[in-house]
């Protein structure tokens, strides 16, 4: 939504600026491959229609409100000499889990039970990352970890339907029967090779 308004703001203003400059200077060069010829501005839902028609390979990432989180940076551990000693690259993100209304209630409770080792006495979930050399990337990794936690807590346990369960049992039994049949055949072959002189 914000993107569309921004786009709507950008395009007319750029066109206006371009046309005024063209009128003034007379030389805003436009070749056959300029952007407005490659992607002619269509009215309304031209852009929306395109993205809707093609398959969304991955669902949109969870929107994490940054002002609800507390982000702090400190120095990372490990080798690295002067750089690791002086530069604050470890990013730590904490937020109060029970009052995080950007996560659904059921998911919140699931998360509280799954990651109770990461929740402190005040009820804040703490996620930290010191994998990268850059603060920004460590922050992105923290946010990614939070998203993964929420996704894991959201997934429902796989319910096996009755028919499928019966099919699975039937399959196992059939396998065992076949195995025993083959075993008997093999046993007969070996028996027939025995020379029993009575």
């Amino acid at each position: 939504m914000a993107a569309r308004t921004l786009r709507a703001l950008c395009r007319p203003r750029l066109l206006v600026a371009g046309s005024s400059r063209r009128a003034a200077a007379g030389a805003e060069f436009r070749s056959a491959y300029s952007l407005d010829k490659l992607y002619p501005p269509r009215g309304g839902g031209g852009g929306g229609g395109d993205t809707g028609s093609e398959q969304e390979a991955k669902p949109p990432a969870l929107d994490i409100p940054m002002d609800r989180l507390t982000v702090s940076y400190c120095r990372s551990s490990g080798p690295g000499g002067q750089n690791v000693n002086k530069v604050n690259t470890k990013a730590e993100v904490r937020f109060h889990l029970a009052s995080a209304d950007w996560i659904p209630e059921a998911v919140r409770q699931k998360m509280a039970s799954m990651h109770k080792n990461k929740i402190n006495r005040a009820g804040e979930l703490i996620v930290n990352s010191e994998e990268s050399r850059y603060q920004m990337r460590n922050l992105a990794i923290c946010l990614e970890k939070i998203r993964v936690m929420v996704t894991e807590a959201t997934e429902k346990p796989k319910v096996v339907s009755k028919e499928t369960a019966q099919e699975l049992i039937a399959r196992v039994e059939k396998m065992n029967r076949e195995r025993l049949r083959q075993k008997k055949i093999h046993s007969n072959i070996k028996q027939s090779r025995k020379a029993d002189f009575d």
């Binding site: 921004l6 786009r7 070749s31 056959a32 300029s34 850059y134 920004m136």
Partner: protein, 294 residues
């Protein structure tokens, strides 16, 4: 030292004797005496050749010979590490730290769009098109201290570098320059003195089209609406709020972009720049105009 109006030096010149071979001398320490063998206790006797054997007699075997053992350079099997190295595209790295350094020192002006020409004039990067360099790539070193709002155009950029520039309210575009256009871009004056019309920039080759039409790389041939979406996505991923550049006072400068066929800002292909008379000659024939705007 000069005195008022440089008169002291002039007085000196008048009073000193004429410069001739008799009163010239090299500055002390500039000319070091060469080591001459066969003279005196230290340069002479064995003359630095050692005692007997192949060493003294100058009969040592070739470089790499290991006395008959299979030498290292033959024992190791061949593998195509460097195969086709002269056909690989190279991009000179430009770290965000260096860019910040140049802006802080005033060598690069952030109030104008930053281009490879600006960076080369500021001696921030040195690009050699003859060594298969196809431009510069923006590298993340210094991402945490970068704080400049710029409109920058590079040839490749990593995701974190793009995020850093956009976080500070700037605009980044990746564009392609074929070797001829690149050579013209880094040395514009030398090109103008040739008196040839500015050529049109070629489109990227097949394997690079995908890169430059991708909005996540901010390619110059990508759909602007998709670029907007990619900006928002990146802001979500890296956890910063995307500053609204439309509300910026430098919005007009930040949104200037070159046409895909244009090499210089403000100069179109087909124009001849006359440096001596400070004039620009533009073609008027319709066939030429049609060719240069195709």
């Amino acid at each position: 030292m000069g005195g008022p109006g440089g008169s002291r030096a002039l007085e000196l010149l008048r009073s000193l004797p004429r410069v001739s071979l008799a009163n010239l001398r090299p500055s002390p320490g500039s000319k070091k005496k060469e080591k001459r063998r066969g003279r005196g206790r230290y340069g002479g006797r064995k003359c630095g050749r050692g005692h007997k054997g192949e060493r003294q007699r100058g009969n040592r075997p070739r470089l790499g010979f290991e006395g008959g053992q299979t030498p290292f350079y033959l024992a190791i099997p061949k593998y195509g590490f460097n195969e086709g190295h002269s056909l690989r595209r190279q991009y000179q790295p430009l770290s965000l730290q260096k860019l910040q350094y140049l802006i802080d020192l005033g060598r690069v002006d952030p109030t104008q769009p930053i281009d490879l020409t600006q960076l080369t004039n500021a001696r921030g990067v040195t690009v050699q098109p003859l060594k298969r360099d196809y431009g510069i790539q923006l590298v993340e070193e210094g991402a945490d201290i970068f704080s400049a709002k710029v409109n920058i155009e590079v040839q490749r950029a990593s995701e974190l570098a793009i995020a850093t520039i956009e976080k500070n309210g700037g605009v980044i575009t990746t564009s392609f320059y074929d070797p001829r256009s690149l050579e013209i871009l880094i040395k514009p004056v030398v090109f103008f003195l040739r008196g040839q019309p500015i050529p049109k920039r070629m489109l990227p080759p097949e394997d690079l089209v995908r890169y430059y039409t991708d909005a996540s790389n901010r390619g110059y041939l990508a759909d602007p609406s998709k670029v907007e979406e990619a900006r928002l996505e990146l802001a979500k991923k890296y956890g910063y709020s995307l500053p609204d550049i439309t509300k910026d006072e430098l919005f007009k400068m930040l949104s200037t972009r070159k046409d895909p066929r244009q090499i210089f800002f403000g100069l179109a292909p087909g124009w001849i720049v006359n440096m001596a008379d400070k004039k620009i000659l533009k073609p008027t024939d319709e066939r030429l105009l049609k060719y240069y705007s195709s």
